[in-house]
């Protein structure tokens, strides 16, 4: 059978999921899994309908989360790339910052949240700060490695052509480090997303957010809303990674043959 490779990829991705969902549905339908403790795909779908079409709570909550994510991730990425470049290019900066970084990087972002709550209070800022940290470390580390691992011959070649440092930076160093930078940005999506949900859960009393929605549902024993929250978190992370960063990768490093196409 000759199938379009794109269709085939989708099939390969979706079929194990479909099987899992079907088994899950059957198990709950026949009460093998207690529906009071475990939701089911059909209930999750119903709850999603409730929370979007009937009453847009989910959308409002999601918007709040995405707003925090955009700010924290954006800031983390921007500063992470800038500082990573600085660390990669200047050995003194590297010398000073590297040990500090390797110590801080081993602290899970969520462990900072109580401190942030104490320092800046319960609000968007705490969550944004947590996301920022989650993103920053991943990006800074990978960017630095990207800059440091550029082959010196690539820089020599441009110097032979008489390139000044500005040209070398924008036309050689930055594109040369892009594989690592994008790797960092992709990892950072995962870390930021985790930091977001964790911080929202810890910051009791904060308004809105997917993490808050799940946590609040727990006190009402609302299993279906909790599961709905989990599904939204999973889909959200996947979509951001695939749509935004996957596209960025496709039009740059994949086109240039610097990474192999992922199957």
């Amino acid at each position: 059978m000759n199938l379009n490779p794109k269709v085939l990829r989708w099939l390969r991705f979706l079929s194990p999921l479909t099987v899992c969902l079907a088994v899950w549905e059957v198990l709950t339908f026949f009460n093998i899994l207690n529906p009071r403790l475990v939701s089911s795909p059909s209930y999750i779908m119903l709850r999603m309908y409730d929370l979007t079409v009937l009453n847009p709570t989910l959308l409002v909550y999601l918007y709040r989360s995405l707003y925090r994510l955009a700010l924290g991730y954006g800031l983390g990425a921007l500063l992470g790339i800038s500082f990573g470049i600085l660390m990669g290019m200047n050995r003194y900066v590297h010398w000073i910052a590297s040990p500090i970084l390797s110590l801080l990087i081993s602290i899970p972002t969520i462990a900072w949240v109580p401190l942030f709550l104490y320092l800046v209070g319960i609000g968007d800022e705490t969550v944004i700060l947590a996301i920022f940290l989650g993103c920053f470390f991943a990006v800074v580390y990978n960017t630095m490695n990207g800059i440091r691992s550029i082959k010196k011959e690539l820089i020599w070649a441009s110097k032979t052509m008489g390139a000044d440092s500005e040209t070398i930076f924008f036309q050689v160093m930055f594109p040369g480090a892009l594989v690592s930078i994008i790797t960092g940005l992709r990892l950072a999506v995962g870390y930021s997303w985790r930091a977001l949900v964790g911080a929202e859960m810890l910051a009791s009393g904060i308004s809105g957010g997917i993490g808050r929605m799940i946590y609040a549902a727990r006190s009402l024993n609302d299993v279906n809303t909790m599961f709905t929250g989990l599904v939204i978190i999973a889909l959200g992370g996947l979509l951001i990674d695939h749509l935004i960063l996957g596209l960025l990768e496709k039009i740059t490093i994949e086109k240039w043959g610097m990474v192999r196409r992922r199957e």
């Binding site: 032979t160 052509m161 050689v172 240039w256």
Partner: protein, 265 residues
């Protein structure tokens, strides 16, 4: 004036290069002096580790000599610059630039207007036999094609001298022969001053006007052999074989020494 009435283009005087790694010092070159004449194709051959590539890096300005001086057109070399073109052993193309983009890069840096730069780059693409590939990205090219781009890129901004560091060393035997023939053709069209480094005697005698045979480390000049054969040369021609024999004899002793040096390390 050098031999044959030609102007001396490149002059190295008593160049010494010592590499220090930790507490080990390696003398790569010792009191190495050389003259390269204008419009000539000069090839340096020597056993591996004799410092021939090091010398090329010093000429390019990538490294600085520990002692001694190198002059290009009477000017002291202190850093890399567009008066020298460099072709690396491994193709060192920018993966994010197309064939055309790679070749135009040097021209853009020197401020040649875009239209003119493109015209010149297209002419070079044609000369190195890559017409139709101008919009291809390097990862889609074969090793031989990549080195053609490398040569075109180094010629694009019209340097005074072309430095080539075993550019065909990574290619398979068949492609290598094709590239030697192509380089001869390109050189005859441009008559650029070339300084070419290789460990292949076959390649040296095929390409060179002048062959500089180097000693084992620390590298010094063992002998200089002029090759006055018409081009394109034949690998089986009697005169070719006689010169090859001469170079091989000079080298043999040094290769043995070099092997002993390596064994001692």
């Amino acid at each position: 004036m050098g031999k044959g009435g030609r102007k001396v283009k490149l002059k190295a005087i008593n160049v010494t290069k010592v590499f220090e790694e930790g507490n080990r010092r390696v003398m790569a070159l010792q009191d190495f002096s050389l003259e390269v004449r204008e419009n000539e194709f000069t090839v340096i051959v020597g056993p591996s580790g004799c410092g021939k590539s090091t010398f090329l890096y010093l000429v390019a300005g990538f490294e600085k000599p520990t002692k001694g001086e190198i002059f290009l057109d009477g000017k002291l070399i202190t850093k890399p610059g567009p008066d020298r073109g460099f072709v690396f052993q491994e193709p060192t193309l920018y993966p994010w630039k197309t064939v055309l983009g790679n070749i135009m890069f040097g021209l853009e840096i020197t401020g040649v207007p875009k239209e003119e730069a493109k015209k010149r780059a297209m002419r070079l693409i044609k000369m190195v036999g890559l017409k139709g590939f101008e919009n291809a990205y390097p990862h889609t090219l074969s090793g031989g094609m990549k080195q053609r781009v490398g040569i075109a890129r180094a010629l694009a901004y019209d340097p005074e001298i072309l430095l080539m560091d075993e550019p065909f060393g990574a290619l398979d035997a068949q492609t290598r022969k094709v590239m030697q023939r192509e380089l001869t053709r390109i050189w005859e069209q441009t008559k650029k001053t070339v300084l070419f480094v290789t460990h292949s005697v076959i390649e040296a005698v095929y390409l060179a006007d002048t062959i500089v045979v180097m000693t084992a480390r620390p590298g010094r000049i063992k002998g200089i052999i002029e090759v006055n054969l018409p081009r394109p040369r034949s690998y089986t021609d009697e005169k070719y074989l006689a010169i090859r024999e001469k170079v091989l004899n000079l080298l043999e002793e040094e290769v043995t020494k070099s092997l002993e040096l390596q064994r001692k390390l």
